[in-house]
Amino acid sequence: MEQFTDEELVERCQAAEGSAAREPFLDALFQRHSARVASWCYHITGDVNSAADLAQEIFVKAFMGIHGFRRGSKFTTWLYSISRNHCLDELRSRKRRMEEYSELPDDIQDWGLESADSAIERYESGELMKKLIRESLDETETKVMTLHYVHEMPLDSVSRMLGLTNDSGAKAYIVSARRKLKRAHELWKSHHKPTKAGTQC
């Protein structure tokens, strides 16, 4: 099997759909990628058993849907998209199960959004925030904020995923990013006429 690329192995699986002839090809794919998926899942969960559980579910999902793999795609990218979606879904459902998940306060802070009631105002506030992010945050702060706020990853997962070795891990970067954004926002406000905040970016 070593002579085949991942994509060739998938093609052979697809050709043998529904028969036992596909098993050796699936096995070869599993042997090639099991350590990758297990290791990546460990970075997400931080627990050996749940990493193995997630990885197992990912492979079952991938092999059940292997007929859907499209020619021209890269197998690792396809496997990544399954792993990513499965792990993030799991994190979100854990978060819903755990009431105490509030590592950071979700305050209604003064971002000048008191009047941002309409969708258009909220959209424009978001655009201003994007500008401030580009101008104020470094790469690690940006990634930490995205993983935590968009992907709803707990802080310990973020720390492992980004290999953060400082004492308080991702939390320190979030505190620093929020402080920088707040400062940048104050500066922006002082340079703009405060008619309707967030509408002049």
Partner: protein, 251 residues
């Protein structure tokens, strides 16, 4: 008005989340592997928090499991290996065994004889074909020909596509000849599937729960595959982007 205010979390989700111009995962992967061959994406990724993070996650996945692994990672991988039989069912020994005809053909003498016989049959077949075509002119018309074999062809989504002013109530596409069934997928830009449905028609109504997830300024992707009655794919739209525009009155 407290409920209408944007909380800090919502604000960050919007600002750090995916935008209209964010490439798909495949495009991002192609950028990572081919570098500057796609300058417009490269430029976008440089200034997009979401894409930078996505690229990091993708690269971390590709690098995972190779090189030095922690003790815990090795344990997780070993545990997964132990469960491989739960993922890969054991092979059926009867099916896995080499079929008799394959063993027959693998015998050297038989293989040569079979090849000679195949050549003989091919020559006879060609001769017979020429004889019958010279003797009787071929009939015109489709009744003689079998069903047309279609390769998986591209077809277009009629609506929604691009920027739209109103939340779409349905998805409509070009009819594909020979298609008996269509599979419709609605995805987020990160390829997370929001909704999937099947229909025999060339359109489908979006349920209210799905419509509620089509929010202003958020790019979504549609992908429709057409299948014939035997279940073979006869057409595909590829990924089609659409986005609900902001309504100036804020609704």
């Amino acid at each position: 008005m407290l409920n209408n205010r944007a909380t800090e979390s919502e604000l960050f989700q919007n600002a750090f989340g995916p935008g209209v111009d964010c490439p798909t995962l495949e495009e991002l992967e192609s950028l990572a592997s081919r570098g500057n061959s796609q300058p417009h994406f490269a430029e976008h990724v440089k200034s997009c928090a979401y894409c930078q993070t996505e690229l990091h996650l993708l690269k971390s996945f590709e690098a995972a499991g190779s090189g030095e692994m922690s003790r815990e990672e090795i344990k997780a991988a070993a545990l997964l290996q132990k469960r491989s039989h739960e993922i890969l069912p054991p092979q059926d020994s009867d099916e896995a065994r080499e079929p008799w005809w394959k063993a027959w053909f693998s015998m050297r003498g038989m293989a040569q004889a079979s090849f000679a016989l195949a050549v003989l049959l091919a020559v006879a077949g060609v001769g017979l074909y020429y004889r019958t075509t010279i003797q009787s002119p071929s009939l015109n018309g489709s009744s003689q020909a079998g069903p047309e074999v279609l390769r998986s062809a591209a077809f277009a989504v009629i609506s929604p596509s691009g920027d739209v002013n109103q939340t779409p109530s349905e998805v409509r596409w070009e009819k594909v000849p020979n298609a008996a069934n269509y599979q419709v997928h609605l995805l987020e830009v990160d390829r997370n599937e929001l909704w999937k449905a099947e229909t025999k028609e060339d359109h489908i109504v979006l349920p209210p729960a799905v419509r509620s997830r089509i929010v202003p300024a958020k790019t979504l992707l549609l992908e429709i595959d057409a299948y014939d009655s035997s279940g073979s794919k006869v057409g595909e739209t590829g990924l089609v982007r659409f986005r609900l525009l902001q309504n100036r009155d804020g609704h």
